[in-house]
Symmetry: C2
Subunit: 362 residues, 2 copies
Amino acid sequence: VALKRPTIKDVARQAGCSLSTVSLVINTSGYVSEETRKRVLKVVRELGYHPTRSARGLASRTSGNIGFILREDHFSQAEPFYTKIFLGAEFAAREHHYYILLTTVGNRFNERTDTPRFLLERNVDGLIIAGKVNLRLVDSFERFGVPIMLVDFQVKGKRFSSVVIDNRGGARAAVTHLLDLGHKNIGFVGGDIEHPSLSERFEGYQETLRDHGLEVQQAFIEIRERDTRIANGAESMKRLLAHARHPTAVFAVNDAMAIGCMRQIKEAGLRTPEDVAVVGFDDIEMSALVEPRLTTVHVHKEELGRLGLERLVEIIDTTSPKILTTLVPVELIERESTLDRERAGTSTASVSGAEETVEQPA
Amino acid sequence: VALKRPTIKDVARQAGCSLSTVSLVINTSGYVSEETRKRVLKVVRELGYHPTRSARGLASRTSGNIGFILREDHFSQAEPFYTKIFLGAEFAAREHHYYILLTTVGNRFNERTDTPRFLLERNVDGLIIAGKVNLRLVDSFERFGVPIMLVDFQVKGKRFSSVVIDNRGGARAAVTHLLDLGHKNIGFVGGDIEHPSLSERFEGYQETLRDHGLEVQQAFIEIRERDTRIANGAESMKRLLAHARHPTAVFAVNDAMAIGCMRQIKEAGLRTPEDVAVVGFDDIEMSALVEPRLTTVHVHKEELGRLGLERLVEIIDTTSPKILTTLVPVELIERESTLDRERAGTSTASVSGAEETVEQPA
DNA sequence: CTGAAAGCGCTAACAA
DNA sequence: TTGTTAGCGCTTTCAG
């Protein structure tokens, strides 16, 4: 059995000062003379003292924990998108001396049975909700009076701070890339278009065309699919190719659909990028492995998590009431699905812009 | 700002009893008359009372947390193997009223800088270590006197309770399946063969052949690769096929290598399963998607996590000193890489055995 | 700049 | 079966 570990009392005795002085030192709060500070720290080191979390928690009414809410299906999907967001948050949490309590929720939400225990037990100082979740869930959690940060998700009307992908900027970069390559007839393939992130990508597509004096043609747009999977991308592409005049390039709302598009193009006896160039969004792991390798908009997943946590910690520390939206820049990765081999070899990346935090307009 | 939440004191007052009675009721410990029990519970419900975790922690010297240690590269890999183990553990944790504190560690381990803070701060009641990690890390963690449970990992010599895949049983099922199909020349493709789990699969392969009166032929064995990825599988298969006489079936140490084998077989102008049948191990997501679909040994990932947590909780609750090894059964999934189309249609699964917990031999 | 004292909300002997 | 009484180890006023 382990020996009794030193308490703040032991440190105080050894250092010849009072408990509160030690407390001030380890919390780097308040004024302590440099001399006693050093003395205390020395003793802390010698004794291998570490304050006990429960005791601090009880006294300070903080838990040192951040709750992390994730939809179960999001978390366990093969593409480690949310896993990486979590990882980014966990890293940042360590730096900021927080623990993360991860819990998954189902698609349906029952307030009575599904409220995470850490909210009930006052065991989190803040909450990160990653990805699209049931709105009733967000409402319900809000009542606990704990700061909430949304990551890769936003709620209209309701105002929550959030960290989101620069969807619009990414879409603009993608479409601009196609325009630069000389394409005039650029299609859009999307699905689940209610999703705020995805509709932004669609808007970015339309804006960019208009900005370049091109008309947005309904015949080049396929957004009826509910899901954004490979099969849905293939279906959409099939419909686009059915028209007599079809686009020479397609911007897909995500990589899965883009890959579906490429499959369908091949199926139809056409080639990518010679007959139809394709750009995706997300840069999932598969995208660098498919043939041809997919040009896409890279999303910095860990960065989303890291920023989510850091913004949340700021809110907790300052009890700032400001609602902030942080835009995480993306990067266009030019690969073979838009370029010929020679050019693909020298592909470059272009960043959508600097990270940017904006106060939500009232 | 949220209203002050009720404390145990409020409940006691309302219920007309003492604090300790309330405490006894909510901890379902000790003897309380059914009558007062009901009265207290009623008040608890009315007031929406929930004990504060920090306070319980301080008083009871328990944190209510379980630490979950995972190697970073294991966690963020595309195949959600460890994600699922975690998920299984998280589910079980909820049922048992524990929180999980997940933290990742790098491959290298520096005791001074990499010791999880939750150990230092006495903030976990137990530890789950999932997957192969640095041994020095395990040694180091052991000193904190916190119960440790290994999942999908084992340490020879050192004795820790663990929950592991029935690797041997799975291997036997795989090889037996091939024997049943009439194969006599069965190869083995492996890598990272130091890994305890993988070497067990290799042993299972050899045992099964011997049990059936067949000789283990070195020319049919390829285990020199360091990694067990697709490319390594392909390389190994290439070498096997280079021999004049090559096996008609191959058992690969995992699905990644098995898929590599199939690619190489195709590359060589041969067919699976007609020319060379292939069986894998793990049943990763990809295995049901490749062409032909891969016969493999399914591993119940969530189950590993769930059992890991439950065994750990048992240890915590009973402070039982017994070292137990729990074997999680696997299932052979028969698909097209070993069967012809007709038989693949009626494929069945065979389980390796019941879940089994054995006391470690001294 | 430092110390004394009063809890934070709960559990756990020990009495009753 | 229930109540009383000490703390658990730390933070946080408030004096000094």
